[in-house]
């Protein structure tokens, strides 16, 4: 079939360079299944959490060093932009946490069929969003 169509095109008179090239993998047509979404977010949030480690250690060191530094750290954490970043980090942590629990559940052969896995993926996304919402209420 493919050969037929290319022969047809050459009959029309297109040169090799002008011929529309075959598009084998159009990324825009791929819809990520929900399990894949939870999986890639698990990986992405893991990377984010790793990258933020030095900041966490630095803030911990400051906050424990003296009362004045503790107040400074609290003031920093209360500024609007940092609060937004804290919320993002809170989501990253809670998603990684719940997706990890889902992994553990599947490792003991719980909720492993496709239907159930899709269901627990939704649960993970919803729980991550809920935890983020609770954090937002606590922060503002």
């Amino acid at each position: 079939m493919l050969n037929d169509s290319s022969q047809n095109q050459s009959k029309v008179g297109l040169t090799k360079a002008q011929k529309p090239r075959p598009k084998n993998l159009n990324l825009l047509t791929i819809r990520l299944p929900i399990n894949a979404l939870v999986s890639i977010l698990h990986r992405a949030t893991g990377c984010i959490l790793f990258l933020i480690l030095p900041v966490i250690l630095l803030l911990l060191q400051w906050s424990l060093s003296s009362a004045a530094n503790f107040e400074t750290v609290v003031a920093i954490l209360h500024s609007p932009l940092i609060k937004l970043m804290l919320l993002g980090l809170g989501w990253a942590f809670s998603h990684h946490f719940f997706a990890g629990i889902r992994h553990l559940a599947m490792d003991v052969h719980w909720m492993t069929s496709l239907m159930k896995a899709r269901y627990t993926s939704k649960v993970v996304l919803v729980l991550g969003a809920l935890a983020t919402l609770l954090l937002a209420i606590k922060l503002w």
Binding site: R43, G46, C47, F50, L53, P54, L57, L60, Q61, S63, L64, S66, A67, F70, E71, F93, F97, G100, I101, H103, L104, D107
Partner: protein, 114 residues
């Protein structure tokens, strides 16, 4: 069968189990930490020091950070294996990862017990 899977012949199985166990330790610690934080409400400096004063909590925190180091090593190593095709660069990055994680662990130990 399970014991055989965990011998040196199947290193992937050991990495798998290590990743699960370290994750479990961190999950339990996180729940405890959140509970303690909500219970003690350390909003001023003295209360914040008290939060970290009990020896068992500092020990738990160290155990958490050791688990975190192992978990991050396996996790980030997998990410590097997937996305860095150049073997030399990947080797350097993985070595760098190990150094950074050891430094963080030393830093965390110093903060908890120094």
């Amino acid at each position: 069968m399970l014991i055989e899977l965990l011998t040196k012949r199947y290193p992937g199985m050991r990495a798998w189990l290590t990743q699960r166990l370290s994750g479990l330790v961190m999950a339990i610690y996180s729940v405890l930490a959140l509970g303690r934080f909500l219970l003690l409400q350390p909003t001023y400096y003295e209360a914040w020091l008290d939060f970290f004063r009990p020896w068992w909590w500092r020990l738990a925190s160290l155990l958490f950070w050791i688990s975190l180091s192992i978990h991050a090593w396996l996790g980030i190593r997998d990410v590097l294996k997937d996305y860095v095709p150049n073997a030399n660069l990947r080797g350097v990055l993985i070595k760098l990862l190990v150094v950074v994680l050891w430094l963080y662990l030393a830093w965390a130990t110093y903060l908890l017990f120094g």
